[in-house]
Subunit: 109 residues, 2 copies
DNA sequence: TTGACGTATAAGACGTGGCTTATATGGTGG
DNA sequence: CCACCATATAAGCCACGTCTTATACGTCAA
């Protein structure tokens, strides 16, 4: 989960995911959308691979990348806990909330 | 939007938001949940303030912090574009997708 | 008024992230 | 076979992020 949030913190990596949401692409294809260098792109792709957000496979001397949207469930699940605030009036800001959102008292990083 | 994604990339900051989702808290109250120093917490809170994810107000010599969940809409909106993949079979990975997700061809970081 | 409290800010240390150029490695086609 | 292509990896640089200790500043209570 941490790896996922870190992966999507970068705007270029979010853009890569957006592109792959339209369909598989090769590295050189993806490179056409950015101005940074090819190795920079490879590094971004590695972060996304390691976070489980993309899948890659060799196709000849190219490499195809595909989105693994399952990896984004943890993000959606986390942010879903905040949706209730958007449907209620914001004067509930100080209100004591549903126990579903209860967390452990001690958070150890 | 970038500031928001960067703010939530850190697990401690996500934990702060989770705590504030239950209700307003003072800085010293929040500090009780973490092992890092008070100035570290102040820095995290500043990141969250600057990203518009929390609101603060002085209450005597204390400072109350409250969640501003509106700031998380951009995250939810972004990840919502990926929900369609979870309801479909993953054999659609290579499929050409809805034009709603279309982006500009050139992405300038 | 003064000392204590609560918290923001300053400054420093150091690890990390994101970029670069260079190079290694595997695949292709003439 | 060899030159070219595509991309991953290596190594370096430097800005930034996150921590720390020290201190400044505003508020409170005796």
């Amino acid at each position: 989960m941490d790896a996922t949030f870190r992966a999507i913190s970068d705007p270029s990596r979010r853009a890569i995911l957006d592109l792959l949401a339209e369909g598989e692409r090769s590295v050189s294809d993806l490179l056409g959308f950015f101005t940074f260098s090819q190795p920079a792109l490879s590094q971004h792709l590695k972060v996304l691979r390691d976070a489980g957000l993309v899948l890659s496979k060799p196709v000849g001397r190219q490499r195809q990348y595909a989105l693994n949207a399952e990896g984004l469930r943890s993000v959606a699940d986390w942010v879903r806990a905040y949706e209730r605030f958007w449907t209620e009036k914001l004067d509930g800001l100080g209100a004591v909330l549903d126990r579903e959102a209860a967390k452990e008292r001690e958070i150890k990083p």
